[in-house]
């Protein structure tokens, strides 16, 4: 038995820290908690929790089956708590699905033509590549928390006032 216990959070079990100011405003630190964001968002609402110029980190509540997404650049997804499955399809003509100059993920109305690439089962701490030129979909049998490294785009949701300490 280890002398130490590593503390991770989960959508259904987390503790939150916070900002104590001496001579500052808490708003300057854009402090939020990913599990709280996932717990209080709609399934697959891709909420931006961090932004650095055009780049963002999104948090999504994985719950049931997501829409299909595609993107003109790589993205990465990290499972932060419970099991999430990722399904990947190589698009036959990715440029006709997503403008190759565009940034951020696009939600697709239907799955375009392509070949099945495979699937990945993610558990806590696992990171998956969501490769350029592919379409992807998530599936989770119970609510889980996903963190996505991407660029600000049409599916990115900004609701800073409701997620950040003020």
């Amino acid at each position: 038995m280890s002398e130490y216990t590593t503390v991770f959070g989960a959508i259904d079990a987390y503790a939150k820290g916070g900002v104590s100011v001496i001579a500052d405003s808490p708003k300057n630190y854009l402090f939020s908690n990913m599990f709280e964001v996932a717990a209080t968002s709609r399934p697959y609402e891709r909420v931006v929790v961090a932004k650095n110029f055009e780049y963002v980190i999104e948090v999504a509540r994985a719950d049931g089956e997501s829409p299909w997404y595609s993107c003109a650049h790589d993205e990465f997804a990290v499972c932060l708590d419970h099991e999430v499955e990722v399904h990947l399809v190589k698009l036959d003509d990715p440029d006709s699905v997503v403008d190759p100059e565009s940034e951020g993920a696009r939600e697709l109305p239907d799955l375009p033509a392509g070949r099945k690439m495979g699937r990945i089962v993610l558990r806590r701490g696992h990171m998956a590549l969501l490769p350029v030129g592919a379409a992807y979909r998530f599936a989770a049998s119970r609510p889980a928390t996903l963190m996505i490294q991407t660029i600000d785009g049409p599916v990115s949701v900004h609701k800073w006032a409701s997620i950040c300490q003020s």
Partner: protein, 344 residues
């Protein structure tokens, strides 16, 4: 995330209009302590059993040598990093990406008010050469300035061997994602990365990857938490995934961030496990601004006008998120880089 000391996308900014210093010297080993002394411009560096001594015209300062070596190690490993690296409240460096300022008191309100702050400017590669020689000579056998204090030997006393393999570690930088073919490999016992004692309970399972034939190179995943549980260094972010210039730079943290980092741009922290307490101070004066407690799942940004220092008792996993865009130094020079990335 480390900066390359060679990065100079355009002519470096020089807001103080300082001339470049070119005088460097490495003196023979001292007969009593066995350590070499160093000179860069008008700054002199000497170590003895317990302390690093820094001198400049009409001024002197001393730091406990463990504090100095841990800070120097990060400044070297990070290529002077982004913005200002305060070794303590007096001494540090500010990166202008190709050139660097070394200062005594320039970010300390007392020195500034008294008009006694001293600053000189160097070509980054030339000062880096001296810093690398210094960390090599002043680090004794058995002491690793990258390691947590409970995991390494003591730095004290006279010269006693060296630890070049520790101070010469290469920073890990994945090109796309850890574990992809041809990219940075995952860490294993066999590759010399055992699980850290404080992460013995971290699950070492691997994602289930079911790739169709022909897609094995792109259907890929790895266990990031297991990867971090095997980090052999502290407070030393390494790149694990890349979206253009967006760099996920996770790291494992124990004890104290060895520098007060005054970034010149906002810097995001995503707490992946356990807890870190951050103290923030005014970047330019050192006046206290806030305390930020980050627990697992918490996200926060360090504004560009603060310096920050983290404290982590239990070894923790932290995702440092950086934007490595070469456009940013120019935006900083033009005052177009915001202190806080979002207002609401």
């Amino acid at each position: 995330m480390a900066m390359s000391e060679d990065v100079a996308p355009t002519r470096p900014a020089n807001p103080r209009g300082l001339p470049l210093q070119s005088g460097f010297a490495v003196e023979p080993a001292d007969n009593r302590t066995g350590y070499r002394t160093f000179r860069a411009g008008s700054f002199g560096f000497r170590r003895d059993g317990y302390f690093a001594h820094i001198t400049w015209p009409n001024g002197r300062h001393q730091l406990a040598v463990d504090v100095f070596l841990r800070a120097l190690m990060r400044d070297v490993a990070w290529g002077f990093f982004y913005g200002t690296v305060n070794f303590d409240t007096v001494f540090g460096t500010t990166n202008y990406y190709g050139e660097v300022e070394m200062f005594a008191g320039a970010t300390n309100e007392s020195f500034i008010k008294a008009g006694t702050a001293f600053i000189e400017r160097f070509k980054s590669d030339e000062l880096m050469r001296i810093f690398k020689e210094m960390i090599g000579d002043w680090t004794n056998q058995g002491y690793d300035p990258f390691a947590a204090p409970m995991e390494t030997g003591a730095p004290w006393g006279s010269k006693n061997g060296d630890n070049d393999s520790a101070v010469g570690r290469k920073r890990v930088t994945a090109k796309r994602m850890v574990g992809l073919p041809g990219d940075t490999p995952v860490r294993t016992d066999a590759s010399g990365y055992p699980v850290n004692r404080m992460f013995a309970d971290v699950t070492q399972d691997t994602p289930e990857v079911h790739a169709e034939p022909g897609f094995e190179h792109e259907v890929s995943a790895f266990n990031l938490f297991a990867y971090l549980s095997r980090s052999d260094v502290t407070w030393n972010p390494s790149v694990c995934s890349v979206v253009k210039e967006s760099l996920f730079c996770p790291t494992s943290e124990e004890f104290i961030l060895p520098v007060e980092h005054g970034n010149d741009r906002p810097e995001w922290f995503v707490q992946l496990s356990d807890e870190i307490i951050w103290t923030t101070k005014d970047r330019d004066t050192g006046a206290f601004r806030a305390q930020v407690v980050c627990k697992a799942g918490d996200v926060c940004v360090m504004p560009a006008d603060v310096r920050h220092q983290g404290f982590s008792d239990k070894r923790s996993m932290l995702l440092v998120w950086e934007n490595g865009s070469p456009k940013i130094p120019a935006l900083i020079r033009e005052g177009k880089a915001p202190n806080v990335p979002v207002t609401f």
